[in-house]
């Protein structure tokens, strides 16, 4: 029976170790990216790396508090946490501080706090609560709408604050809902829309429509019994409409700078002069970051030896572009190491989530994995030029207190829930 009591404190150390490995390695790279010469002062508010070490120290307090709170608290108070969080987002419209065009910060003395970072965790809790409610049936349209509303409110609020990156993160909940039984056609629909949009932009609306028609007719030919002709016509009209709609949207509604990002991503621009121009203007960061990563080679130039990092060639390198420092100084080996660390963390959380007994913990765990995954996918994908430029940080790795604390809260609530699974009935 003694073992039983021990299990109260059985935290998942693998996740915790991975968490600290990522945070620690991240700090080393922040040091390198923000070092400007002189002695290294480990705890100082005047240097980014010094601030980050203070942020990291403070995470210990957060961790102790979160693990100290009764696990049931999170489920019970999820609605209140969500509402408070939403209010903090709304408050930004009145009290918010504008940094780089986004009104996403509260200024408290010299410190700034970004409530949108914390809203992700709150939303994850709320979604978990909603889905795990015994009255909720994810297959009913009404419940789907309710769940969507929970997700869309924060997404809309951050979009209105001009923080497109954070808005996209809420797409992560698709993985959660799908896991919990969201009808399959949502997946098919989502995939089709994405693929068709890309095709339409890359090869033109006509080509996209033709490809879609061929696939739809092919599908109809082999599954005549399952689908009616009416459905085929509907699908056809929708695809053609979407193809032209996307094109129209791209040409007339998107702002030039957004067009440029997409055109660069899909390699639509063929004119070398204009391409050079792009590389010097909005794609400057991306171009420099790709060059920095590439120049690292197999083994990298060594810690604090990266010429592009030292020369501050990549703007915002210690925040969104921190991965380019890894690429330059630690090379292929170090970058792959970071990628693998994240994959291990994600798979570990996913594994734990699947092994939860309560649906609330499982959904929440899924939410945690999905949110980190989307961040990881977009950030590293962007820094390496696989995804259009979208400004979101690399979780636990990039410089920034709000982000670090929000992810700490996100992960450690789950660790707490997980440690409590034995007590579930």
């Amino acid at each position: 029976m003694a073992r039983e009591t021990n299990r109260h404190y059985k935290f998942d150390w693998i996740t915790i170790i991975l968490f600290f490995l990522i945070v620690g390695f991240g700090w080393l790279n922040i040091l390198s990216a923000s070092y400007t010469g002189g002695d290294i002062d480990y705890f100082t508010f005047s240097k980014s790396y010094g601030k980050q070490s203070i942020f990291i120290l403070f995470t210990f307090c957060i961790i102790i508090v979160i693990l100290g709170i009764e696990a049931k608290f999170y489920e019970r108070f999820s609605s209140i946490i969500y509402i408070v969080s939403m209010l903090s987002l709304v408050g930004l419209f009145i009290f918010g501080k504008n940094v780089n065009g986004a009104t996403s910060w509260y200024a408290i003395g010299s410190m700034t706090l970004q409530p949108s970072e914390f809203a992700k965790a709150a939303t994850a809790l709320a979604v978990a609560k909603q889905i795990s409610d015994l009255n909720t049936n994810i297959n009913s349209f009404k419940d789907q709408i309710q769940t969507f509303v929970i997700i869309i409110i924060p997404a809309l609020l951050v979009l209105l604050q001009n923080d497109t990156g954070s808005t996209i993160v809420y797409g992560a909940f698709f993985f959660v809902l799908y896991r919990e039984g969201l009808p399959k056609y949502y997946l098919s629909l989502g995939m089709s829309v994405i693929i068709l949009s890309v095709l339409a932009l890359k090869f033109g609306a006509l080509t996209a429509s033709i490809i879609a028609s061929v696939i739809i007719f092919g599908y109809y030919y082999f599954n005549k019994k399952k689908v009616s002709f009416f459905q085929v016509i509907l699908a056809l009209l929708l695809s053609v409409g979407l193809s032209y709609g996307v094109k129209l949207f791209y040409d007339s509604i998107l702002k030039p700078h957004q067009q440029d990002r997409i055109s660069l991503w899909l390699r639509l621009e063929k004119d070398p002069v204009k391409l050079e121009e792009m590389k010097r203007t909005f794609a400057y960061n991306l171009n420099e970051s790709e060059k920095a990563i590439s120049s690292g080679g197999f083994t990298g130039k060594g810690f604090m030896e990266g010429t592009r990092t030292t020369g501050k060639f990549v703007p915002e390198q210690h925040t969104d572009y921190i991965f380019s420092t890894v690429g330059e100084e630690w090379g292929f080996l170090g970058s792959s190491f970071v990628v693998i660390l994240f994959i291990l963390l994600l798979l570990r959380i996913l594994h734990l989530a699947e092994s939860q007994k309560s649906q609330f913990s499982r959904v929440y765990g899924y939410g945690v994995a999905s949110i980190i995954f989307i961040h990881f996918l977009i950030n590293i994908g962007m820094v390496m030029g696989l995804i259009p430029t979208i400004g979101i940080p690399l979780p636990l790795f990039s410089y920034g207190g709000s982000g670090l604390w929000a992810f700490t809260i996100l992960i450690f609530i789950f660790i707490k829930l997980d440690s409590n699974k034995i007590n579930e009935w």
């Binding site: 010469g37 993985f175 799908y178 896991r179 039984g181 997946l187 010097r280 420099e288 790709e290 990563i293 590439s294 120049s295 690292g296 080679g297 197999f298 130039k301 030896e305 010429t307 592009r308 030292t310 020369g311 501050k312 060639f313 990549v314 703007p315 690429g327 090379g331 292929f332 970058s335 792959s336 990628v339 693998i340 994240f342 994959i343 994600l346 798979l347 996913l350 699947e354 899924y366 994995a369 999905s370 995954f373 990881f376 996918l377 590293i380 994908g381 390496m384 696989l386």
Partner: protein
């Protein structure tokens, strides 16, 4: 299934990222190269280029500072173009053109915007330079020629071109490099090695300190001074004598192979190819009909004519087909088959070797040549033997020396004639070779070298231009004796014949008191194609000589294009040069006077006149006009009062 979706997505993204990293960092990444890294600024420190001295220690080439305005296009900020242009003294259009050219070359590497500012312009610009971001002034050193002589010997330096940049990564845009002459052949010795400083930049292109504490920086290595074998006084004299003529003069010191003088006419003032006017002047020189950039003394390939008879005499003796005393009867020419080669001997004149050389008898040497080729009744074998002997004198191949340009010339062998005479081959087929015409072709330097080998009685040193390099030894290929395939004793009768040329023969009028000169005249027919008609021009005047007979100090070959017979122009110049070198004063003022009095410019204008013209005996000697004559006299006077 639903559980797997996120799991699979994560794994897929992980693999995708690692592939992308592999592509970026391993597949497309080059080794980290400091020079390729635009985060590192490279600042060059140019060393002093080595000076050039003549054999008597007289300074010929020194340096002068020069300032280039450089531009790094992508670092340029909007500027007051009008002010900048007025400081540079160029108009706006030019500025834009030059700027775009630099940008086209590379937006991130420095290019020269404007080269060779004058000192005044530099001073005015220097003060305002910081207003113009992306531009800077690079100090370089240009050549300063102390004398106006030896342009073809010394050569010049000029900006590297794209081929140079590709071939040798040492050179960067705007660097200067030896382009011709000694400057080119001793480029690496003269230039030294530039120093380099690596400076870490930030993305605003500001210097933020030395890269890795200057571990990789190097200090410049000064260029070395060199001394060349040219005697500037002799060179100057030669150039003066060759004015208003075209051709080449090469004088060699037989005991060392050192080139005492290398005159190419026409020549030019080497200072023309310095500084901002360089490319303009270069094009002018290159496109002029007289082509002064063409170094006739080492690049001009001519049929050697009669001087080559010396070669045939030597081969005849060596092969034992004739003795010095054996006589050949001349019938005012030589009949072979049903053809006839004319000679200016009287009918029935009997020549032995000495008088054969003295009178330059065509019949005598045709006989010798045929005897050589028919020695074993096999002309194919014979011509190969003959060719080998001639080649042992350095004829028909590159001398492989330290002159930047050169020509092979041609000494034919059987293989050469295979095309024209695939099956049968008789000695009469190539009889013109007997008198140094036909397929034989040499450059003046090869001929001078042949004479040096005769003067040495059987050996020579590769003719070269380098006398000493500061702190280095001269390559041993220039101090190693090269033996010809002719035994020593066979030279005496030939040298005796060459002495008779001066005493009684074709150069009897060119004797110099107290100097025993051995020489040989040459008169060579030559042709050009005018409007696709092969047209004969006035003969080339050729002369070779060495002196003194028993202790040779100088061997010389003189080619004067269209100068008619050998002793008319070439012989006179050779005698004067020899006297100048040995006595350092001129007693044959009459020869000197004659040479500067006469010009061949009319002769050279004929083929381009578009009108019919006459040659040789139907030409008139042209006098230089009065002002030109006075100018030459003045120069001559300057030369004699040191």
């Amino acid at each position: 299934m639903r559980q797997l979706f996120l799991f699979v997505s994560i794994i897929f993204v992980g693999i995708l990222f690692i592939f992308r990293l592999f592509y970026l960092q391993v597949y497309t990444s080059n080794e980290h190269d400091l020079f390729e890294d635009n985060a590192i600024r490279k600042v060059y420190d140019y060393p002093k280029r080595g000076f050039i001295y003549d054999r008597n220690g007289e300074l010929l080439v020194a340096n002068q500072p020069s300032y280039d305005v450089m531009v790094i296009p992508r670092e340029v900020e909007p500027l007051d173009t009008l002010e900048f242009c007025s400081l540079l003294k160029i108009d706006k259009e030019q500025f834009i053109k030059r700027f775009n050219r630099a940008k086209h070359y590379s937006p991130r590497l420095p290019s020269v915007l404007l080269s060779h500012l004058s000192k005044q312009d530099y001073a005015a610009l220097q003060e305002k330079m910081r207003k113009f971001e992306g531009f800077y002034i690079q100090k370089r050193s240009l050549r300063h020629y102390q004398r106006t002589i030896g342009a073809n010997v010394l050569g010049d330096i000029g900006e590297v071109n794209t081929t140079d940049l590709k071939k040798d990564s040492y050179y960067k845009m705007g660097d200067l490099k030896g382009k011709q002459g000694v400057e080119a052949s001793y480029e690496k010795t003269l230039r030294g090695v530039k120093g380099i400083k690596f400076i870490q930049k930030d993305r605003f292109n500001r210097n933020i300190g030395p890269y890795k504490n200057s571990t990789f920086d190097t200090i410049p290595e000064q260029g070395k001074d060199i001394t060349i074998t040219i005697d500037s006084k002799l060179q100057e004299y030669g150039e003066l004598l060759m004015q208003n003529k075209r051709g080449g003069v090469i004088a060699i010191e037989p005991a060392s192979g050192e080139i005492l003088a290398m005159v190419a006419a026409p020549t030019y003032d080497p200072n023309l190819l310095v500084g901002r006017e360089r490319s303009k002047n270069f094009i002018k020189l290159r496109d002029s009909i007289a082509n002064p950039l063409f170094n006739r003394s080492i690049q001009g390939v001519y049929e050697p004519g009669s001087p080559f008879k010396l070669m045939n005499a030597l081969v005849g003796l060596q092969e034992g087909v004739i003795t010095p005393n054996e006589t050949v009867t001349c019938y005012a020419g030589y009949k072979y088959g049903n053809r006839f080669m004319k000679c200016h001997c009287y009918i029935g004149k009997r020549n032995n070797m000495i008088s054969g050389i003295q009178e330059s008898c065509n019949a005598y040497f045709s006989t010798v040549y045929r005897k050589i080729l028919d020695k074993n009744s096999n002309a194919s074998e014979g011509i190969d033997t003959w060719s080998k002997h001639a080649k042992s004198f350095g004829l028909g191949d590159y001398l492989n020396n330290d002159l930047f340009v050169g020509q092979k010339g041609r000494i034919p062998n059987r293989a050469y004639y295979k095309q024209v005479y695939p099956k049968t081959f008789y000695s009469t087929y190539t009889i013109s070779n007997a008198i140094g015409q036909g397929e034989v072709a040499t450059t003046p330097i090869q001929l001078a070298n042949m004479v040096a080998a005769i003067a040495n009685r059987g050996y020579y040193y590769t003719p070269h231009i380098i006398k000493s390099i500061e702190g280095e030894t001269v390559p041993d290929k220039f101090t190693k004796i090269k033996y010809t395939s002719i035994d020593k004793q066979h030279f005496e009768p030939v040298i005796e014949g060459m002495q008779q040329v001066y005493k009684r023969g074709t150069a009897a009028s060119l004797q110099v008191k107290d100097i025993d000169i051995c020489g040989k005249t040459g008169t060579v027919e030559n042709f050009v194609v005018i409007d696709s008609v092969k047209t004969q021009l006035t003969d080339h005047s050729i002369f070779v000589a060495f002196a003194p007979k028993n202790d040779p100090k100088i061997a010389i070959a003189v080619f004067v294009e269209n100068g008619y017979w050998g002793s008319r122009f070439a012989g006179k110049i050779a005698s004067l040069m020899i006297e100048k070198h040995i006595k350092n004063e001129i007693t044959r003022k009459d020869l000197e006077e004659w040479i500067i009095r006469h010009s061949l410019e009319d002769e050279y204008a004929k083929p381009y006149s578009g009108e019919p013209f006459r040659i040789n005996e139907y030409t008139k000697l042209q006098f230089v006009d009065d002002s030109e004559y006075k100018r030459l006299k003045r120069e001559l006077k300057k030369l004699q009062t040191p």
